[in-house]
Symmetry: none
Subunit: 420 residues, 2 copies
Amino acid sequence: MPELMGAEVICVGTELLLGDILNTNAQFLAQELATLGISHFYQTVVGDNSQRLKDVVAIALQRSSILIFTGGLGPTPDDLTTETLADCFRVPLVEHPQVLDDITQKYTARGRPMSPSNRKQALQPKGAAVLPNRLGTAPGMIWAPRPGVLIYTFPGVPREMKAMWRETAVPDLRRRGFGTTTIHSHMLRFWGISESALAEQVASFLALQNPTVAPYAGQGEVRLRVAARALSTAEAEALIAPVADQLRAIAGLHYYGQDDETLASVVGQLLQAAGQTVAVAESCTGGGLGHLLTAVPGSSAYFWGGIISYANAVKVDLLGVDAGDLATHGAVSEDVAKQMAVGVRSRLHTTWGLSITGVAGPGGGTPAKPVGMVCLGVAGPDSVECHTLQYGVHRDRDLIRHLSAHTALDLLRRKLLARE
Amino acid sequence: MPELMGAEVICVGTELLLGDILNTNAQFLAQELATLGISHFYQTVVGDNSQRLKDVVAIALQRSSILIFTGGLGPTPDDLTTETLADCFRVPLVEHPQVLDDITQKYTARGRPMSPSNRKQALQPKGAAVLPNRLGTAPGMIWAPRPGVLIYTFPGVPREMKAMWRETAVPDLRRRGFGTTTIHSHMLRFWGISESALAEQVASFLALQNPTVAPYAGQGEVRLRVAARALSTAEAEALIAPVADQLRAIAGLHYYGQDDETLASVVGQLLQAAGQTVAVAESCTGGGLGHLLTAVPGSSAYFWGGIISYANAVKVDLLGVDAGDLATHGAVSEDVAKQMAVGVRSRLHTTWGLSITGVAGPGGGTPAKPVGMVCLGVAGPDSVECHTLQYGVHRDRDLIRHLSAHTALDLLRRKLLARE
């Protein structure tokens, strides 16, 4: 199928028009279409209203050849996308028995009764192919209702939509001759340096044309997206590799990984390579550091556990922090952070002990120990050290906890790299 | 001016169509229009292309009476919004000397030379009023090019757009008779029931007109948004209250809170009201349950801490789980979950002990204990009980951990309510 007019993303949902949710689906699909080299000139958002959706489809058919819908596939009466599309092309709905079986099985597996309204999700316009939904109950469809028009529908749930897009829609588009040039990219990830400082160090790269280098930042992390357009992924990789190598060399230890890698996964790789283990002692993060470490599949190979010592009594009873030191220096102090790290390392018999104690706010700050003050400890085979960070009173509780847990991981990463 | 067809948000920018940025402007404007009670049926995104923008304006004029543009007001050649709008209505552009002065002063204040291209930003269609930009150089406009049509333009920079909206556009809309009614809403939150089951129980409410009731679902939670249109927030509250009360009565214990409340904050309120405390023992969630509990400011009043027993040795050494039972029944078993809950309760001297042990995947599943099988334990003053859940192998590690931690909180919530 030749590409005539490009793709249009149509997001269906009154919740978008009320501002209840942010339209991350439109951004994801825009990025994916760019990667596939498919032109994309319009995005439309419309509510759960059959007539207005019909009008939007009529307009899209005049200016776009690939129509990508998200939302409106659920079991409730205001989920109207499938039946409205059938109506637009005056095609009847038919029930797909294998979809009904799949939905029934998913409900059974979850131990929930399937309600009659769920049966609606097995209906699709006659002639449409099922776009399977591995992660949820509402399948989408792939439908060419007339020559030069190609329709894909997805549920609005981002996780389900993304998996369906990658697993089924992209291969289908390629089979139909779309996506012959490709934009391929790597996201390089940095911790411990500001966006402006990194941008200055790599300023000359930001003007490159192919690959392009673009900086992003958020939640303490800085990223550089290196993207190349080429006929194949291999060609794009060849354009990206030398530039990425130079960027890594410039950033030194601030570079920690790329693409899906996280500080936790990189720390895990380093620990596994060294045959070492870690345990955590957490106060203000309340388990967030352990949660990050265990987000990595297979982390049981090097993460043994930890102690959440939110109350001071737990710091003394379970970590062996000295009650006198606690009274003298306070829970948020380098002395206590060190004893927490040493204590958890010794009680869990690990190579490393990592500790966090701080004032996450919004209450609890004092002039000497303001909100945003956090002490991190790392105890290892040779020594124990501690760092005090001041994240500042203008950052909120969530961000202070996020930065604390990630900086603790970064601390251990740098220790592990220094010992290699 | 009577409201005929509602507002349409038109975001102009190729960077949106490439997915380089997330369209937060559309969500902000959607929320604001909802608050003002101005109907809003469509959002459109179009690139920096004059002809396509003209086409989009022509379509919008047929279905909307208030057109709100963001983006395309800058000094570069691809910033086309102002001149394209003038062209749509065949009106010439005129230079506003006071805008030119303002731009010149801002460049001088920043110590930057003003380039000739910046002069373009002082041009506006004849008859349009300047919408001043306090924070940046590109002003917007307020323009009624013909009866029944009202146009506002804003730069794409969210900070500038928001200030201009609040400081000038909202007062202007109110002067024109818009925003005399308000839409006010509450989000009711439920756990332990599926979206379709709840929707069936409250089916008659989903057809209401004022207030409206709309279901949402995601990550195990189901929500009902109850929204009323009225002349004041107080009037809207009066319309919402009886409906919300009936919905809560129908849902019973499945209802847990509303608006910003979370399962963790509700559990915290119940614990504080009862003068009780809790500690956690976590295996597959790795600290995620503690992290949720401590996301609530002031949680130190009732959350004392916990033990992350990721390795089996930690379950035995620090929680007192019987090594024989662990070998016989396995780490993911009701026996072990119970002993973990009892162990952490006794070691941390709390009223309640809450435990989680499960197979989060993607590896580690067996036919008897598949991925998604999770045992939750709750030990209290009178008894210890356990629940085994099967989240199913099609759910991913993140979601299984998310559901496990939230269901554990829900379990404790129901225990606390039963004891009241």
